[in-house]
Symmetry: C2
Subunit: 201 residues, 2 copies
């Protein structure tokens, strides 16, 4: 059995990442979503190991200091990060693992796990992104403006990613993502023993 693939996925907010990933998980049983660790308190209904690993600041720092946090950041006074161990465990079992993280996190992971495959999901245009943000109807004008500005900044990091998927039609974007997963597994570099195996059998 070959090792699973680590897929780093980033997108500006309202880029449609959540919907695409949900669809991928429905179509691909070998896919797992990495669970983040956080030092914040669980909210009602949140389960340890499912929504987050809820850990203490000390445990968090220990993971960082021992190189066992693939990426981490602080956000309004709490720490968030991706523990390495569960990811490695799934990969060793041959399962593919998705890390849903921002552009800063993506760069950190690429350094620690250069074998990962990174995909940046982009909206077809800023006009479409703006429309999607407004259609949600949940944000006021200044929040929409702020999100659009953040999106512009995030898009400038696209060049750090291996693949760009344009989220125009959902089905196309999902098929792109699954094709990336499938084809990456066929790379010669990821199949060191395959020719020897053919020759010997």
């Amino acid at each position: 059995m070959s090792k699973g693939l680590l897929l780093v996925v980033s997108a500006p907010s309202a880029g449609g990442k959540g919907t695409i990933l949900k669809e991928m998980f429905q179509q691909d049983e070998q896919l797992r979503l990495s669970v983040s660790a956080t030092t914040r308190q669980p909210r009602p209904g949140e389960k340890h190991g499912e929504h987050y690993y809820f850990i203490s600041e000390e445990e968090f720092q220990n993971l960082v200091n021992s190189g066992n946090m693939l990426e981490y950041a602080a956000y309004v006074g709490n720490s968030y990060g991706t523990p390495r161990e569960p990811v490695e465990k799934w990969l060793a079992e041959g399962l593919d693992v998705v890390l849903e993280i921002d552009v800063q996190g993506g760069a950190q992971v690429k350094k620690l796990m250069p074998d990962c495959v990174s995909v940046f999901i982009v909206p077809p245009s800023m006009t479409v992104l703006e429309k999607r943000l407004r259609d949600r109807g949940t944000e006021d004008e200044s929040t929409v403006r702020k999100r659009l500005e953040t999106a512009r900044q995030e898009l400038s990091h696209a060049e750090d990613y291996d693949y760009i998927v344009v989220n125009d039609r959902l089905e196309d974007a999902v098929e792109d993502m699954l094709a990336i997963l499938r084809s990456e597994k066929r790379k010669y570099a990821r199949n060191p023993g395959v020719i020897q195996k053919v020759l010997e059998q």
Copy 2:
């Protein structure tokens, strides 16, 4: 419209390349098969520009000398090669082009067109390859032995290829090939203007 993709496909004989490609052409209308040029005489029923470009030795040498032959080789007194112009024309039209060539040809093309994507199709095992050769029932024992030996030599070139597709179940191999085509088109490096376009629209 973005440029098409050049797909170099090699496989040991009886590797199932022909069947896989036939299936791909049926499923993908944007795909074209490169036509080789040869100095040999046309056989009954063979059409110029369809089965081969039938050209003179002088025309052939002119194409080679001017760098307009992507790869070429001599075989029982005749020259065979892939003229660059029709391939470039299709790629410029946004069509994807398949070059079905041997391992020597593959290496030549990679040098002249480093943007190409190369796939090596392998049988699941030498045992299966031998069975497939014998099941054809068209070759005598010594020919089967020779083909198996050639296959072993060709397999040692697999490391020069970007992707390895194991031809176990036909449908899986075809899906692998189509996934490779699809995902390669999503590579950031192949989409230099995409982010700028998103930002401007």
